[in-house]
């Protein structure tokens, strides 16, 4: 990927670029020329940094799809094919981790970064090779789902999006390219449901169990709102709502005081 693509929109045609550093890299093409294809596909390595739960889940996913996964900077000599940053909780930590990934990953490789609580565009401004950053959606317990959201930035050349899509295809996921906005589609929609359920609990409309049962029965939701929080985690939900509120300035994302308190105390409501 070239270092500067002035304002290439993600939908514009890709500019011709220097080919990927061909023979030295363990690129897919190079590897496939080797005789034992099955074993050698697995030789690509990925560096994964971020929130503990998310790193663990993606580590499992990538390992089962034949990647070699590093969760700390590998020793020199091991060539990385991909780097993935999956921090949703801590902005400062995210910035530090991204800077590291940007430094150790060859500039012609896509840098995938969760853009659930910080937009990909904002993150791209934190790093040197900003063109190659592509945002994606990641929340706990969803790593086995067959689809993932991709959010390229205004700088992302088509090649970066293609590399990202190719990567996710190799771990069994289709991709849906959406605009780069905090929360993307899934997380943003889901957290409105969860937050409203927390307000409803504060008003003691019904018990938590009844809230879950009602939504599952009436709308055939796979989980009730309280079950969703237990799946995704209060820390993630709370980070998401805060990010949406500060990004948009819209009071509709204001976190229910109950959620806020529970997030602080680390407890969940059980009666």
């Amino acid at each position: 990927m070239a270092k500067k693509t002035p304002t290439a929109s993600k939908r514009s045609k890709p500019a011709k670029r220097a080919p990927r550093q061909a023979p030295k890299t363990a690129s897919k093409r190079g590897v496939l020329t080797k005789p034992s294809a099955v074993a050698s596909v697995s030789s690509e390595s990925v560096l994964l940094l971020g929130d503990e739960r998310l790193v663990q889940e993606y580590q499992t996913l990538l390992t089962s799809n034949g990647f070699t996964v590093h969760t700390s900077i590998p020793r020199t000599g091991s060539k990385l094919s991909y780097a993935i940053e999956c921090t949703n909780l801590d902005r400062t930590a995210k910035r530090e981790r991204l800077t590291i990934l940007d430094r150790v990953l060859s500039p012609d490789r896509v840098l995938l970064s969760s853009s659930v609580t910080v937009s990909a565009t904002e993150q791209a401004n934190w790093i040197t090779h900003r063109n190659r950053l592509v945002g994606f959606g990641i929340l706990p317990t969803l790593s086995q789902r067959p689809l993932v959201e991709l959010a390229p930035t205004i700088h992302s050349p088509t090649e970066a999006v293609e590399q990202a899509a190719e990567f996710f295809a190799r771990v069994g996921k289709q991709t849906e390219v959406v605009q780069d906005r905090v929360g993307l589609v899934f997380a943003r929609t889901l957290c409105r449901l969860i937050n409203e359920a927390a307000f409803a609990l504060t008003e003691e409309i019904a018990t938590p169990q009844d809230l879950d049962a009602a939504l599952k029965m009436a709308l055939q939701h796979p989980n009730g709102p309280i079950e969703w929080v237990e799946r995704i985690g209060l820390d993630q939900v709370s980070a998401l709502l805060k990010a949406l509120e500060s990004e948009s300035g819209d009071a509709r994302y204001r976190m229910a005081p109950l959620l806020h308190q529970m997030a602080l105390s680390g407890e969940w409501w059980k009666r």
Partner: protein, 286 residues
Amino acid sequence: MFKHLGVVGAGTMGSGIAHLAVLSNIDVLVYDVNETVLRRMGERIKQDVRRLAQHGKITPEQAANALSLLHTRTSVADLAHCEFIIESVVEDIRIKRDLFKHLDLNTRPTAVLATDTSSLSVTAIASQARFPERVVGMHFFNPVATSPLVEVVRGQRTGSKAVDTTMTFARFLGKTPIEANDTPGFIVNRIATPYYQEAVHLVAEHVAEPAQIDRIMREIGGFLQGPLEKMDEDGTDIHLEMARSMMDQYFGEPRFRPAPLLRRMAEGGMLGKKSGQGFYSYEKMK
């Protein structure tokens, strides 16, 4: 269980409830001011019950018995002997309040008076009744025949006896009742409204296309339906009214503020499946 059920209003919900009740061997009196609506309801229930018998879901005797239990009336005074009356007339607080005042005066004082309102306050509906403790919410979901949930709503002045009877009655009809307090939208509509409105905001802000949004919710979240296809099915006007009514009842709370695009669609006749165009086009299916 009691013997005589009164149903006020022969619309979609009213006829669905009557249908359920006669199949559960309860004598049903349906009251509506409009004779045509009553006749149409009678024909629809007859058809549905015969179809159940044809498919072997019930015996011909059960079908005949069910149909013999269905009666229609154009005078509300005929409901005087019913032990349980459920109302599903138009969602207008003045009409419902007057109706309950009338029912309260003209029925036996032990009868339970239930409202199938989805967005109005049970407490407000009961306000003109002499015995507000017997007024309770019994909120069915569409389609009444197959949707398992009934929200049983306890108004500020509703008595425990009315709630208990309504819970028992719902179970008798084969439903799963859940008790809720009388706050705007009760449980399901309350919690789902911000979720639906957020999906409309995503469309309006061009974050993704409607088909992408629905696919993301299905494939990532495991939802059976995406929010936009569901809104098309329910009617965009219905969702607009629901959000508007909740925002009013919460004095302008921004969490319930309808997305302006939804209003534009409803005003433009893009009501969803029923009008052939909503977030998706259904023209080809005709």
